[in-house]
Symmetry: C2
């Protein structure tokens, strides 16, 4: 039985208790949210080594770090290092997006080593295995795709991205739309091209029931991918994006009925003024299913700094109700992130999630800021460093230029406002 | 005559023509905005070497970089380096906040070398000169403060921060408020402490007319400082902050009547949910005067990353109508920023301003993103690098891991969505 099926039978699963306890929530409320599909605990029944983690309404905003090899860069050791750096910096989940080297092996290593839920995008591997055989990926057999998904389930993957909303109808709308940047999702592009060349419907849409069966077998959460997400501000919130979202909402409903947990993925590149309506619309159209956004990136012109553009968009998206933020690293749009990129990306995303949690009124969020404010008032530098989101970085910067008066810092010196007004205010 | 007085006489000053041309605005519209105090062109009549720069309603969002020495770090050469790095990275103005070494000399050097408007906070120097004489800064004579302000005007400073809203009334409200972090503005703390110890009213409030006379003499713009800005989320949008803002609105009106250009300064530390009302309230209470915000920082817990917390707050503040963003560097709350911090701070702030300009519909803003989107569609890497907010950084990251196929990048390789779907979409 899946987690939802157990809840439907009246059970209060241990996973739910643990998540409720970790988040300081009422167990019954959380149980109801999972039953209604407004929160999920993504955990493959074979992946019992991880702590249960909740994502959704009323819970702390979670963040994901994408790791994994590419055709140009394969180093299992480096990927494991990325995993540990990501988790240490605060990633709540990781996705192994490996597309280079022995993909099965890397995935197994990551699942084995990860203390947090692991996600994948099986179509990458399915397409690559076809091309490695010297065939074109458009010759991929539907069976090969489903077989890859099963393999991921067997290995213990907790959630998979499946681009079920790239349908003949949404591609027709894409064509009518006349987008600037077309499709920027890899899974979306592979699916669309396959459909174009074969003339068939998307098998993950057409045979969604088969997908649900596999998901049920492993109690794997489906993350319904937005293969038609906008890849630039000019394409934001257009008709084909919303067509796909409507379909994802329908599929989310169906999955829930079948007892499969679902997350819905969202943009992407959005002007800051589009964020609120994108979040509200997803909640309206997808029965309040957890919303997993990539960024959103609020400008296209900042490669090298897309962890910042994503932090701006992610903070705002979270404040409006997005539940799960996929990090973006400084190397986005330029190459495969390295270990240091992973760290920078996770921290920027953590900041956005925390800012959102303050807006959402999540228990404990504002208290951290209050503790920091009190440490500042007390000119207690040890506490300020300890309470920082990245204590090591705070310490390094402070130690780089130590003040002659240990109570203040090298910016204000004797003009320290807090010190000046301490006696009277 | 000041710029406003010239406009009132029916003149269309050359500065206004230049700014209108640079921003692609109608000259008469801009003239009316300056007359109404909704836009300013901060330029000391002695500082004719700079290009006129407009700040306010309907104009591109501007950003300021704070530079200057501190008691613990004095190096004129380094400050000039910070100036050139800030300007190269896109700072629209700089403020010399020097508090160490020969302050007059550093200021003169910066004003001489700067191609952009220069601001200062004269009370820092006034207080320090008193303490350098072995006296306590609370023994500062009102004359000494006004004399310092005049000296800055004579040197050609284009805009000065004056904390005129720290009044006996606002301090009384501060006391009733019971803030967590009291006063975090240096100018605010100095003023409050001076008032506390002398029992007098703030001379810059009580003798605002005298301040206006000095400002008129040099056609220096007044930036009405928010000495009582919140220094932590818990203190945001409280009664003493708003009391001060009301006073600043009254003073802004008076200054405008006297033909002196005015900017109003704002927070500071704010939860993301407070940003909209802070911006709207300032516009309501201050006759639409340009709003100059420091950040806002949307969490207290990210020292080392406050350029990111400020970019989140600044982008949103700008989108709601803030006109002028003061940058924040990664070293904020920890020490005096170095040259590299200045660069990081300016770029993060530029990103925020650009994101805001897209929201505001500023001419040319969205076009930059569109050009980038087209370069991505064309897999034109030279153009992508050229169109980046920081081309050098983009190039470095790209060259750090060159792909085997020059058309794509090392993240996606043969799975490049744009390349895959190029033939059909």
């Amino acid at each position: 039985m899946t987690l939802i099926e157990r809840i439907r039978k009246g059970e209060i699963p241990d996973e739910v208790r643990k998540v409720a306890s970790a988040e300081g929530l009422d167990i019954k409320d959380l149980t109801e949210k999972i039953r209604a599909g407004r929160a999920v605990i993504p955990r493959n029944r074979r992946h019992t080594s991880i702590e249960p983690l909740g994502i959704g309404e009323g819970l702390r905003t979670k963040i994901n770090a994408n790791i994994g090899s590419s055709e140009d860069r394969v180093d299992v050791g480096e990927e494991l290092k990325k995993l540990s750096v990501a988790v240490d910096a605060g990633a709540d989940t990781v996705m192994d997006l490996s597309t280079g080297g022995e993909i099965d092996l890397i995935r197994k290593e990551i699942i084995g080593a990860s203390p947090v839920p692991v996600g994948t995008v099986p179509i990458y591997q399915a397409a690559l295995e076809v091309t490695r055989q010297g065939r074109s990926f458009v010759d991929m057999d539907e069976e090969e795709l489903f077989e890859t998904i099963e393999r991921h389930g067997e290995d213990g993957v907790d959630f998979i991205t499946v681009h079920c909303g790239v349908t003949r109808a949404s591609l027709e709308r894409l064509r009518k739309e006349g987008r600037v940047l077309g499709i920027v999702s890899r899974g979306g592009a592979l699916t669309a091209e396959w459909m174009e060349k074969t003339g068939k419907e998307n098998p993950l849409y057409e045979n969604f029931d088969r997908l649900l069966k596999i998901a049920k077998r492993f109690d794997m959460t489906l993350s319904l991918g937005d293969g038609l997400r906008p890849g630039c501000l000019a394409d934001a919130t257009d008709r084909c994006q919303i067509e796909e979202l409507i379909t994802l909402g329908e599929l989310a409903k169906k999955a829930l009925e079948e007892g499969v947990q679902v997350i819905v993925e969202g943009p992407g590149h959005l002007p800051i003024t589009h964020i609120e309506r994108n979040i509200r619309l997803q909640k309206d159209l997808c029965n309040g299913a957890p919303f997993y956004v990539l960024g959103p990136l609020v400008t296209d012109i900042a490669p090298g700094y897309d962890h910042i553009t994503a932090a701006i968009g992610g903070a705002l998206a979270g404040a409006y109700g997005a539940d799960f933020l996929c990090y973006v690293t400084p190397t986005e749009h330029l190459g495969l992130p390295g270990v240091e990129d992973v760290r920078e990306g996770v921290i920027a995303s953590k900041i956005a999630a925390h800012v959102a949690d303050i807006a959402k009124g999540i228990k404990g969020a504002m208290e951290r800021d209050l503790a920091m404010a009190r440490a500042r008032k007390a000119l207690d530098w040890d506490a300020q460093i300890r309470l920082s989101i990245d204590p090591e970085r705070s310490r390094k910067i402070r130690e780089r230029s130590l003040p002659s008066d240990a109570e203040v810092c090298t910016m204000c010196g004797s003009l320290c406002a807090i010190k000046i007004s301490r006696s009277t205010l």
